[in-house]
């Protein structure tokens, strides 16, 4: 398809240690369209994060193919915790990606400063991370990820370290930022409600070794921001279906 920014086919991953071999991903195939927000959901330990690690080339796949539309596709990876460097100011933290890629120039720096301004962090730019709340730190982490102008954003449970209330607020926040900047996003989460409220598609994985159980197109009437989407009439229906797919057993 023309519109696919990323095509993953028959992805496989084994983990090895001395005493055993674990098959994390059995056979994963899916496409991501441009400017789409896709969530990957599945039981804990099923290898959701492994997919992101492979996409960001932190880990090598054991088999299968990953095809980006453009060779020069830039990937931004937002981790579970913010991992802001305590010895760097907020601005310096946001510039780390540009420094590493040797693309730190006046223009890119101004872009980061404009992001900080737009998302209400400009006045904190010379402060250190420990003076910020958890939610603000997560927003800084997102701006750090956006600074390198990624084509695809990978989000690994970006809200899971926050308390419930900040989570709802930051979820809205992050969603709006990603939409406004016109980015493609792949989010891994174990939070069903979060997944339904932000995504246009949800990929449900099975237990390890993971295969794709089902892919849902999420169609909500009157889709707005995530917090609002939770109140749409289709929301509980999707919740029930996916919950059954997840087959949670205690």
């Amino acid at each position: 398809m023309e519109n696919n920014i990323l095509e993953i086919s028959h992805l496989k991953k084994f983990y090895h240690d001395l005493s055993s071999e674990t098959e994390a991903l059995h056979d994963i195939t899916f496409d991501i369209k441009d400017k789409e927000f896709v969530s990957i959901i599945g039981p804990s330990g099923c290898g959701k994060s492994t997919i992101l690690s492979i996409l960001s080339s932190l880990e090598k796949p054991s088999g299968g193919n990953i095809k980006f539309r453009d060779k020069s596709c830039v990937i931004g990876y937002m981790l579970q915790k913010d991992f802001l460097f305590p010895w760097r100011t907020i601005l310096e933290n946001c510039l780390i990606g540009l420094e590493v890629n040797n693309t730190l120039n006046e223009e890119n720096k101004n872009y980061v400063i404009s992001l900080l301004k737009t998302y209400g962090l400009y006045e904190f730019k010379d402060k250190y991370p420990d003076s910020l709340s958890g939610g603000m730190r997560q927003r800084v982490a997102l701006i750090r990820t956006l600074a390198i102008k990624p084509d695809i954003l990978l989000l690994d449970e970006p809200m899971s370290a926050l308390d419930y209330q900040s989570r709802l607020a930051i979820c809205d926040d992050i969603y709006n930022i990603i939409k406004k900047e016109g980015k493609t996003a792949i989010m891994v989460t174990h939070d069903l409600e979060e997944a339904i409220s932000v995504s246009s598609r949800i990929i449900v994985l099975s237990k390890r070794p993971a295969v794709i159980k089902k892919i849902y197109d999420i169609k909500l009437t009157d889709r707005k921001n995530p917090l609002h989407n939770r109140k749409t009439k289709e929301f509980p229906k999707y919740y029930d279906m996916i919950w059954r797919d997840l087959d949670v057993q205690i």
Binding site: S57, Y77, L79, F85, I96, E99, V100, N101, I148
Partner: protein, 263 residues
């Protein structure tokens, strides 16, 4: 101006009071010790020939300055300490960096580092003299043997216990190993490095004195050795007192430097 509540002022006062109390206690301990020592000596309850006394220490210092150039003894010891401190710190950080860079080398040399570190270096004294010669060099060599391995081990352990999340973050940005080292490993190990310097300064002092006891014609270690050979306990105790003051001063300087860099 903002006015603090009564409770807050009380809280500040309490902290200040505690600080003063600690200071007073610190000073009283040393004063009590010195006065007690002097009184016992004056009342002839202890034998000053064997255990000296504060006033004798002072007069010994005075005569050392007049007759045998005390400052050049202190100078030579300080020089040796500073040289071995610098060399040990540089080697320590350098080797730790290499080991961090190449995990295989680290695994290969690990048992040897442990052996070299736990070896009683003073046992090597005679060999060092034969190999390096009876000079300042063998004193510095001895000090290096004592301080280098422990700093390699400390710094390396700091490097490898860096939060993996920080490293993964840089890896996801396609950072090179050099960038990971400069942007994550070094800054996040600032505390480890300062602590290593602190340990190193006392290790170097211990090493230099040990070296001077074995072979020297000058320095505080020499004074101690000479004092014990001619049974001049006064000289020995005086030198030990000076050593104590020097080691405290050096520690103090490093701590002040640390504060200054922090700000």
């Amino acid at each position: 101006m903002y006015k603090y509540s009564k409770e807050h002022l009380e809280y500040l006062k309490q902290i200040k009071r505690k600080k003063i109390f600690i200071m007073i206690m610190r000073i009283s301990i040393i004063v009590l010790f010195l006065v007690g020592w002097e009184v016992l000596a004056r009342l002839n309850l202890i034998n000053t020939f064997l255990s000296s006394s504060p006033s004798k220490v002072i007069s010994t210092i005075d005569s050392l300055i007049q007759e045998s150039n005390l400052f050049s003894h202190i100078g030579i010891t300080l020089f040796e300490v500073i040289v071995s401190f610098l060399v040990a710190s540089i080697i320590g950080v350098l080797v730790a960096t290499i080991l961090w860079w190449n995990d295989t080398i680290a695994k290969i040399v690990d048992p040897y580092l442990t052996i070299l570190n736990s070896l009683p270096k003073v046992a090597l004294g005679p060999i060092i003299i034969i190999w390096v010669g009876a000079s300042t060099n063998s004193i510095i060599f001895m000090a290096l043997l004592i301080s280098t391995f422990i700093s390699i081990i400390n710094v390396y352990n700091g490097f490898i216990s860096t939060d993996i999340g920080f490293i993964n973050l840089l890896k996801s940005l396609n950072a090179s190993k050099k960038q990971i080292f400069l942007k994550v490993i070094l800054p996040s190990n600032y505390k480890t490095l300062v602590n290593c310097l602190k340990i190193n300064i006392s290790m170097s002092l211990i090493g230099v004195i040990m070296g001077e006891l074995l072979v020297s014609k000058k320095g505080l270690g020499y004074l101690i050795m000479y004092g014990s050979q001619v049974f001049n306990i006064n000289l020995v105790i005086t030198s030990v007192v000076i050593l104590g003051v020097i080691s405290y001063l050096m520690y103090f300087i490093i701590s002040k430097l640390e504060e200054k860099i922090k700000n």
